[in-house]
Symmetry: C2
């Protein structure tokens, strides 16, 4: 493994330490060292906004902690859910007396641990509303949307929820805005190369050279199909077709587009994909309101990219444009 | 090659097209399609700030175009200098009637092409001052500092120069501030894996598994030594020692720190490095004023990281803190 690590079992601990040292102007460590808290949080009278998830997806999740975004983030081991205690501690750190919304991804471990954390919080007198992200179109058919995984659409969900909470909205209003955001998102991933958990030492899935996996999940979950690697243009056409066929948006709908690298794909290739993505989305009669291109939600050193399209209305546009201060670019 | 590309000879063209489509709120294409211009540039009465360099280092150089940063950027082929014409056209696009500063890296092709561009600009009545970055400590000994290459310290040079120009400074004042910034920078790179130019199809240098190259350049230029891969802590200790021994700063000096990935190194590993980097810099009696961690200056899918340390004074601190609007995080 050609990696910068110390003890493979302490990757997350070392990451969090270096993260908090780098960004003391934006975040602080929680009382629980597996919780990252926005500097200045909790804000009295503001709905707290929380997420959490496995590590190895940086800048997700911790990099989205900050002003007008997430108040607190529960940190899991590499590719595995934070504990119920960490979710609960994140909720406590975010609680400004007006309730807390927990916006997280649809994975078995996260579902279980968030549920337990919500019960613990209720006992402690904190009202918690939840929104579960399920934007990954290839992880289940449309009629079973509740089974789909959450991927990079979560970033839009956090940004919308964070902005709504910062505007002084109620818990129910924040929940509803975040729910609308993720309901309006569809995402797809394409993998060209696997990644390795340092403590394992070899990839936990394979992508043969010359092939790609269309619809792959953020942890290498099997996709729709494995096929010969195509040109960037062909890949982008396929990604748009899968996402937009599932989305079925009326002509003239305004959308936000997010193209994220999975870790080891050069940034310039994401722009190459975006050149075609813009063409395809526009050709469908949709209007691109804003585009984000970068490493927003990665999977260690996986080679590949994801596309997320969020349909917008006036409320979502206004919330999307609220400036944030976190360590990732938004 | 597991890459998202179309015609390998059109990687730069496709990248630029996708970039401009994504960020029309921040940049526009120049008249010359190998020039990226900040939206709103040139600003009448403001010193123009320009750079340029080979592609494949994204977000450098184009991602630093924007308000309070670079007014225009000349875009070269992958890993090769922009033409003299492109540098000249970037200078013309940035010219607001108060002169233009060209802040670029010390590479043979860039030196030659900038010199020609400056002559062309003089004929066109535009006064151009230049600053050449040479922050890469392993590329020549201290007594031959003028031979050293420019690497990630260029980002600080651009940020300082951009902020100074935005504050209404004269051409000479902007040049002096940018020169001070790069004079105060020292950088080192460590490579764990090579990168491949798509048109070549195989790596143009080798890094054997289990080894690392300390002092490697941004295009795989040979470093100080090849040795067995160490832990992140040991690597960070070595990086700090090489940079700080060369820097020789008085106790109590405030510094800015930039830890950049080279393309395929997961972000969390940069934080792991930063955990030790912070410890080592602090142990030398230096005070860290700000830390930047991310993929700031990459080399396609090279595995590895760079460390840049810039010594600060009151002027540099104030300029470093000027908010910018570009596509990279700063």
């Amino acid at each position: 493994m050609q990696r910068f690590i110390n003890n493979p079992d302490e990757v997350v601990e070392d990451t969090v330490k270096g993260f908090v040292k780098a960004h003391a102007d934006i975040v602080r460590l929680g009382e629980n060292p597996r919780v990252i808290v926005a500097k200045g949080a909790p804000v009295a009278g503001k709905v707290g906004v929380v997420t959490g998830g496995g590590s190895g997806h940086e800048p997700a999740f911790i990099g989205y902690t900050g002003r007008n975004m997430l108040d607190a983030v529960a940190v899991g081991e590499l590719f595995s859910s934070p504990t119920a205690k960490s979710f609960h501690d994140a909720i406590r750190e975010a609680d400004g007396g007006k309730g807390v919304v927990c916006l997280y991804g649809n994975y078995a471990g996260d579902n279980m641990n968030v549920k337990m954390a919500v019960k613990l919080a209720a006992k402690a007198g904190i009202e918690v509303a939840t929104v579960v992200a399920n934007d990954d179109v290839c992880s289940a058919p449309p009629e079973e949307r509740e089974k789909r995984r959450g991927v990079a659409g979560e970033i839009f969900m956090w940004k919308i929820g964070g902005a709504k909470a910062a505007a002084g909205a109620s818990l129910e209003e924040v929940r509803a805005a975040a729910q609308k955001a993720i309901d309006n998102c569809r995402s797809i991933g394409v993998g060209l190369g696997p990644c390795t958990l340092p403590a394992v030492g070899h990839p936990n899935f394979r992508i043969e050279p010359g092939t790609m996996e269309v619809g792959i999940g953020h942890h290498g979950e099997p996709g729709l199909r494995v096929e010969a690697l195509k040109t960037a243009e062909e890949v982008a056409v396929d990604m748009c077709k899968i996402v937009l066929d599932d989305h079925d948006l009326p002509q003239g709908t305004e959308v936000a587009v997010l193209v994220s690298g999975l870790g080891a794909t050069p940034l310039n290739e994401l722009y190459i994909l975006n050149d075609t993505i813009e063409r395809e989305i526009t050709a469908r009669g949709l209007k691109i309101y804003r585009t984000f291109v970068g490493n927003y939600f990665t999977s260690l050193e996986m080679v590949g990219a994801t596309l997320t399209v969020m349909a917008l209305d006036d409320e979502l546009k206004a919330l999307l444009d609220v400036e944030v201060r976190c360590t990732a670019v938004l």
